[in-house]
Symmetry: C2
Subunit: 336 residues, 2 copies
Amino acid sequence: MNIDGKPYRTIWLGADGVSAEIIDQTKLPFALEIVALCTLEDAAHAIASMQVRGAPLIGATAAYGVALAMADDASDAGLARACEVLAATRPTAVNLRWALDEMVAELQPLPADARVAGAFARAAEICDEDVETCRRIGEHGVGLIEAHAAHKGGETVNILTHCNAGWLATVDWGTALAPIYQAFDRGVPVHVWVDETRPRNQGASLTAFELGAHGVPHTIVADNAGGHLMQAGLVDLCLVGTDRTTANGDVANKIGTYLKALAAKDNGVQFFVALPHSTIDWTLEDGADIPIEQRDPGEVTHMTGQLPGGQVATVAVAPPGSHAANYAFDVTPRGS
Amino acid sequence: MNIDGKPYRTIWLGADGVSAEIIDQTKLPFALEIVALCTLEDAAHAIASMQVRGAPLIGATAAYGVALAMADDASDAGLARACEVLAATRPTAVNLRWALDEMVAELQPLPADARVAGAFARAAEICDEDVETCRRIGEHGVGLIEAHAAHKGGETVNILTHCNAGWLATVDWGTALAPIYQAFDRGVPVHVWVDETRPRNQGASLTAFELGAHGVPHTIVADNAGGHLMQAGLVDLCLVGTDRTTANGDVANKIGTYLKALAAKDNGVQFFVALPHSTIDWTLEDGADIPIEQRDPGEVTHMTGQLPGGQVATVAVAPPGSHAANYAFDVTPRGS
């Protein structure tokens, strides 16, 4: 998608042909900084420190990490070490392990002197495949938005989204936001209600940033606001992503998704989940089987942002020593 | 209620008998500062700058404001001026105008030389009446909590609350929190899930502060978490306050209340609204008639808290120039 009119992906081959470049997402939304990844360690650091995040982008970065490692040591031992280092960065990321397996399957049969070229080629392919998957999610979903636009006689279609399921979480397009970008690019009048998405504020920071950079009209709201917006007829449809979907169609996504789905049901508002096949976990029968990760309570009691002087700082928003809990996901039961 | 074992109200007569003292709530939860109100202007400033907030406490402060004015000028003109100055501080606060009317009704018939004593006496009475109202809300509600405790065989009763409907919003006890304080004081094991309550964070700051100061076990959660907590069986009942309740029982309360009510309904969790009679607006038939105030969008895009050095600062959490909307309340339809 575009940033101020210039097309970007979240990761791409460097101009020298032997490095990768990324947008440092820890600096968003206050600064756009491009970081060059030149070594295996650079790639591992980018994943571990969340300079890149989102399952597809983590996988793509790991693939480039293997390619960077091959440029240094293309032996079997070098390949094994690269996978070990990268797999340790985010132990629970399914897509990360998938990408490493893909790279090993590609490189193992090759002689060492063909592995660097092979690795960079496969990493590029993994990126292109993700872009194509997301583009097709957009193509699949854009009709939903166009139908609302037709029904409203060309009036603006209001879409509510939660968290960041946009191009910053993938290589390009995003999942939930892909249909919105395609609608916008086709000239369909759209406006996005962006849930700020506490406690990590991915909506207020990342989703608002990427929509704004591409030029898509949007408004940030507190997570508390969606119910009122739907009661007031200000939401035509909800579009969200998912971290894991079970065999029966139950959807685990960022905490708070379930509350918006309840409000959508109560107000007769359409609610869609945009996902690639890879997000479906066929080994789990239903949502009750999904373990809900708890994260650092400090994400609830403290908030990071930009001081008036431009410096980024973290402030406490709760009484010192307060006890907090930080559930990362909830489960939205399939439609009934 | 207690702060570190010492009983407090939110407003009380100063030791000199001709001033009032308040807890400066703009300094909470990071500092407990007592401010003396010695003049009409002090009282007006306390209300306008939100050193005091919550309808009952605003009313009580206005009553003391009239008393302070009488000490300076007990003439009819002085009384009229006091009412004018105080009424202008928060133009939409119904309770403020009610308290001023009470004071005028009390003082108008009195000779000027009896007005100072009369005004301080009536202000104290207004405070005592509020305390008694809230105490009785607690008495009325504590049985709900005790019933859960009995049903659970003495296991901890988990109560979810939204925003701050505690003693800091009233003179003492609070509304939604009054039954919880009474249960706690009787030795019933309780634990409160405190919604942080974006965008002004009254839960994370005020509710967590007052529960902690009195010793009531509690955990701050993001507003997004309540649905998951109820799905997981971690909430026995919800208790909230209300800003305005219509004749048919629809409840306007802090934005996000409706979403929690939907989750309670979906999970078979009891949901109660604690309110004094004065909050019922008999002139409105149902919730659709309640205008929903929009506040400064900066409350969504910026966050105030304490820097590691102890200084209070405001940080931006959204991209510069982002558009945001800030709906203050939503309407929860009466139970069906």
